[in-house]
């Protein structure tokens, strides 16, 4: 880990400790996370998510949305950059809070750690729909097991908790580029790597990995 990363992590830890207290975030003497922080009971409220950037996309070849149980195909959607508490974005192997935009699960492209900036894909969604869609973390689960009924229940609970969409104005402000045209999901990942580089530059291996030279497999 380079110096820049260590410094960034230390900053994030400081903020996390202030926000959540020592029971939720433990730091080693080296400044790295010692253990995944405890997920709060109501992530939708206690782990707020902000929209930073949005850009619609279209794929020439349909992709499968592996991040929900129906495994539906899609060719359009929105690429988003979301901001959240970095410590809770540090990847864990146990179940993570599922990230929702309205009635859709988000495919996380990067980890968002330690930047707190998460690049995600929201399949099938338009910018107009994004304006009205609450963006929130739901209960921990494996996204591949989350179906429409589950999503609706999470969305209902989030709305009940007072969450709303960010609004057209905020979406418009966050939308700064023309729609992306991509060959397939791999190509979209490649293009997302530039967003990761901009918003979460510490994830250097992910960025370079998404830009690996392409060979056409049969």
């Amino acid at each position: 880990m380079n110096t820049k990363l260590i410094f960034g992590a230390a900053l994030v830890l400081t903020a996390a400790a202030i926000t959540f207290g020592p029971n939720l975030v433990q730091a080693t003497s080296e400044g790295g996370l010692q253990a995944p922080p405890t997920i709060p009971d109501n992530p939708a409220v206690e782990l707020p998510v902000q929209l930073v950037f949005a850009q619609s996309f279209e794929l020439a070849d349909a992709a499968t949305h592996t991040w929900r149980a129906e495994q539906s195909s899609y060719t359009t959607g929105v690429l988003v950059v979301l901001e959240a508490e970095a410590a809770f974005l540090a990847p864990r192997q146990t179940a993570e809070p599922v990230l929702f935009v309205g009635n859709q699960t988000v495919e996380r492209v990067n980890t968002g750690y330690p930047s707190g900036q998460l690049v995600g894909i929201v399949p099938g969604m338009t910018l107009e729909e994004l304006a009205d869609a609450p963006i929130f973390f739901g209960q921990p689960a494996l996204p591949e097991s989350v179906d429409a009924a589950h999503i609706q229940a999470e969305l209902d609970a989030a709305v009940t908790s007072g969450l709303t969409g960010v609004g057209a104005e905020r979406v418009a402000a966050a939308t700064a580029a023309d729609p992306i045209g991509a060959l397939d999901l791999g190509d979209l990942h490649f293009q997302a790597s530039f967003l990761i580089e901009k918003y979460s530059p510490g994830e250097v291996d992910l960025i370079s990995g998404l830009r690996a030279p392409r060979i056409d497999f049969k």
Binding site: A9, Q34, G209, P213, F217
Partner: protein, 778 residues
């Protein structure tokens, strides 16, 4: 100095008074022959005369017709019909030695007679000759190993680290004919049996040359000799070890010959001097990163000169959630430097295990199917798709087991490989999201890495997801594990960053990697290449034998190993607690009795969500199974106030243990229990065998290298004294150790197996788990 055989002395003496004719057996005056072979009898005398050869069980001499002849003329004497002498005065006859085992060990004494009218007695008696029988022309047995400070005082081994002393030992009770004999011990470069048959010359390569020793009848320790001080050359190329044979040259003729003893002359060496498995192999490695499409990104490692090579085994690495496929350079470079093609691929773990497992399957299939396109076809024709290892980390570690299960279930049908091509699965700190029926390695050899300081997949029973050992105990056939205290979740990859490590005496990423690399090499060599010596890395306790540069004596470094033999290995299960589940009946069908306290058989699944010790949670700290798993074992107390035992009766039909090599079982200490805490530290006990005549033999488990380590002293996951999940270790005791220095005990008639606990037998007390008691054939 050469020893003059006593039989030769006798023959020489007799020859002095015998007649002019001469008798030779295979050209010698004394020979040890293998039953079922031919014997050449050459008798010389005057030409064209009838001959006879007398055979007796007594060497005599007796006087006949005024001559002393070298046989006893007992009632057992008989004659061998031999041909007349020819014009040159030679009678040459070949006789077939019956393939009768009753002959083995017997010795006969022969004298020839030429019916010579010119002789005053009418008979020209020859000098005598001696004929003995053996199963072979020489004896094969294990000789090389290390001395022990306790009974059985010596361990026979397959692997000895470069730079380590090599010792040789015999048990004079097992080889009584050696007692009193002086011999030369040779350490030679290993040869196959064909190689020895072609050239029996002994060339010692050890420090100081061949050792001349005199064996005694005074026990194993008196018959243990250092034959090399650590100078033997290590392996060349990619070999794990350099093979050596040990020969006890009893007739000191500098040849492997009849009567000698050899450790070797088989499909493997007598022993191997093994390399530092933490260090890179001989091949320069090239690495290439490319993408074959969505979730088909590869970081591929291969020997740079692969174009000159044949087909190399394939290793696929599936990373964990939020990890990256470029974070396994240490494994990729290491194994590629020994001639493996390693592909670490992007793994779609975010959605879950089903998705991750599909990614493993797709990447394996696509890689094999696109070799012509990858790296300009550089690997095409050089990947052995029939020898595949899957390594997975965390969610990817569960994913590789699920991937195998998908092929078994028929829910995924690969195009470019089949199920039997997967030869080994190794999971590093795997999750268990999918449970009993979906995340199972079935019958493929399975290996598990566990970090006891892991704060993510942490082993706490608050969730099935975090209990790595579930997958190990679901393995239906051969399995093994490597559990590391003081190791966090992320140290299995090489990205640094946060450790996900919690607990005392953390050892860090560098030390973790030394242990990883040191064990990955023998693991794949054992399962992929069938490497004979590699097994020692997997079966011998870390304290007894470990990769040369793997850390020892470093605070926090403790490594616990389990190894369960394959079902088809010929092992005999005494009790695995899976069948005959009552306390009084073993899996073997024999009775069990015990005086240990609070003994309970049951599913090895912590009964609640924490490691807090409470009386109702009988299997506290056991994380081998979930509520739907079937793994079972025994737990019990020894309170320190006295001695206690568990006694297994052995059925008469199972009493002969001479065809087995080891007594194997796994045992552990139970975490946070007051007895564990009261006697905190490595714990040991004794194992006794009793034969049908009541003779007994006892060995401490410390003879295997160490006792049972105390639970990792980590807090959390409940309350109470420090202690994390119970860590089983496999203990192996060589059965020949029970007969060492013990003339009375009969391994062919074992009546009871007794585990002894308490102050008279080792540690004063404790709370223990016990499982998988078996006799193994290795």
């Amino acid at each position: 100095m050469r020893r003059i055989h006593h039989a030769a002395l006798a023959i020489t003496a007799i020859a002095g008074v015998a007649g002019a004719s001469d008798l030779k057996l295979d050209g010698q005056t004394s020979v040890i022959k293998q039953i079922g072979t031919n014997l050449q009898i050459d008798l010389t005398g005057s030409p064209n005369l009838a001959t006879k050869v007398a055979v007796d069980v007594s060497p005599g001499p007796v006087s006949v017709l005024g001559e002393s002849i070298a046989i006893g003329l007992t009632p057992s004497m008989f004659f061998i019909g031999t041909v007349p002498t020819d014009a040159a005065g030679l009678s040459s006859t070949t006789v077939a030695i019956p393939n009768d085992p009753a002959l083995i060990g017997g010795t006969f004494y022969l004298v020839g007679a030429v019916l010579d009218p010119a002789d005053p007695n009418g008979f020209d008696f020859s000098s005598g000759a001696t004929l003995s029988f053996s199963t072979g022309s020489f004896q094969q047995t294990e000789l090389a190993g290390n001395s022990l400070s306790m009974r059985p005082f010596f361990e026979k081994v397959r692997a000895i680290n470069m730079g380590s002393t090599v010792e040789v030992s015999i048990d004079p009770l097992a080889m009584p004919s050696l007692a009193g004999q002086t011999a030369d011990i040779f350490v030679t470069v290993a040869k196959t049996s064909a190689g020895w048959d072609a050239d029996a010359t002994l060339v010692d390569v050890s420090s100081g040359g061949a050792e001349t020793v005199t064996f005694s009848a005074s026990g194993v320790q008196a018959n243990t000799f250092t034959v090399d001080t650590g100078t033997l050359a290590g392996p060349v190329g990619t070999d794990l070890g350099a093979g050596y044979d040990v020969v006890i040259d009893l007739d000191q003729d500098g040849l492997l010959s009849a009567g000698d003893v050899i450790d070797g002359y088989a499909d493997h060496a007598g022993f191997e001097v093994v390399r530092d498995t933490t260090q890179a192999g001989p091949f320069a490695v090239s690495e290439s990163i490319y993408s074959g499409g969505t979730w088909l990104d590869h970081d591929t490692y291969y020997p740079t000169n692969i174009a000159t090579m044949g087909k190399l085994p394939l290793v696929m690495i599936s990373h964990g959630n939020g990890h990256n496929y470029q974070w396994y350079d240490h494994i990729g470079n290491h194994l590629a430097s020994y001639g493996y093609v390693v592909v670490s691929h992007s793994n779609n773990t975010g959605p879950g295990i089903q998705t991750a497992s599909t990614t493993t399957l797709d990447n394996t299939d696509k890689f094999i199917g696109n070799l012509a396109a990858i790296l300009g076809g550089k690997l095409d024709g050089h990947v052995d798709s029939h020898n595949i290892t899957w390594i997975g980390h965390s969610r990817g570690g569960e994913g590789v087991a699920r991937a195998y299960d998908k092929i078994v279930d028929g829910t995924y049908v690969p195009t470019n490989f089949v199920l039997s091509d997967i030869k080994l699965i190794s999971s590093m700190a795997p999750t268990d999201f999918l449970g009993t029926t979906s995340s199972t390695p079935h019958d493929v050899p399975y290996h598990l890495w566990v970090g006891q300081a892991d704060s993510d997949v942490n082993g706490c029973p608050s969730s099935n997801v975090t209990q790595c050992f579930h997958l190990l105990d679901r393995a239906e056939n051969q399995s093994q594990s490597t559990s590391l205290k003081g190791v966090g979740h992320t140290w299995f990859h090489d990205n640094g960053g946060f450790s996900w490590a919690s607990g005392p005496q953390l050892i860090g990423e560098a030390a973790t990697h030394l242990i990883q690399l040191g064990y990955f090499l023998p693991l794949v060599k054992y399962h992929i290449e069938g490497d004979w010596a590699a097994r020692d890395f997997l079966t011998r306790q870390y304290e007894d034998f470990h990769p040369i540069s793997a850390p020892v004596g470093v605070v926090g470094v403790e490594v616990d190993l389990q190894f369960r033999d394959a079902n088809e290995s010929g092992k005999f299960v005494i009790d695995d607690f899976q069948t005959n589940t009552g306390l009084a009946l073993a899996s073997s069908g024999a009775a069990v009795s015990h005086t240990v306290q609070l003994a309970v058989e049951g599913r090895m699944d912590d009964g609640n969500s924490n490691f807090t010790n409470i009386a109702s949670d009988t299997f506290n700290g056991f994380t081998e199974g979930s509520a739907t798993d079937f793994t079972r074992g025994l737990v019990f107390n020894a309170d320190g106030a006295g001695d206690y035992d568990i006694t297994y009766d052995i059925l008469p039909g199972d009493a002969d243990w001479t065809s087995f090599q080891d007594l194997s079982f796994r045992a552990c200490q139970s975490t946070r229990h007051p007895l564990t805490t009261a006697f905190l530290g490595d714990s040991d006990f004794e194992v006794e065998l009793v034969d049908t005549l009541g003779n007994s033999s006892t060995i401490s488990i410390l003879a295997s290298g160490a006792g049972l380590t105390e639970p990792y002293q980590r807090t959390g996951c409940g309350t109470g004294a420090p202690g994390w999940g119970n860590e089983f270790e496999t203990i192996r005791l060589a059965l020949e150790g029970f007969t060492a220095d013990d003339a009375a005990f009969d391994l062919s008639n074992v009546d009871k197996l007794i585990f002894h606990f308490g102050p008279s037998h080792g540690s004063a007390g404790g709370r223990y788990g016990l499982d998988d008691i078996a006799l193994t054939k290795n």
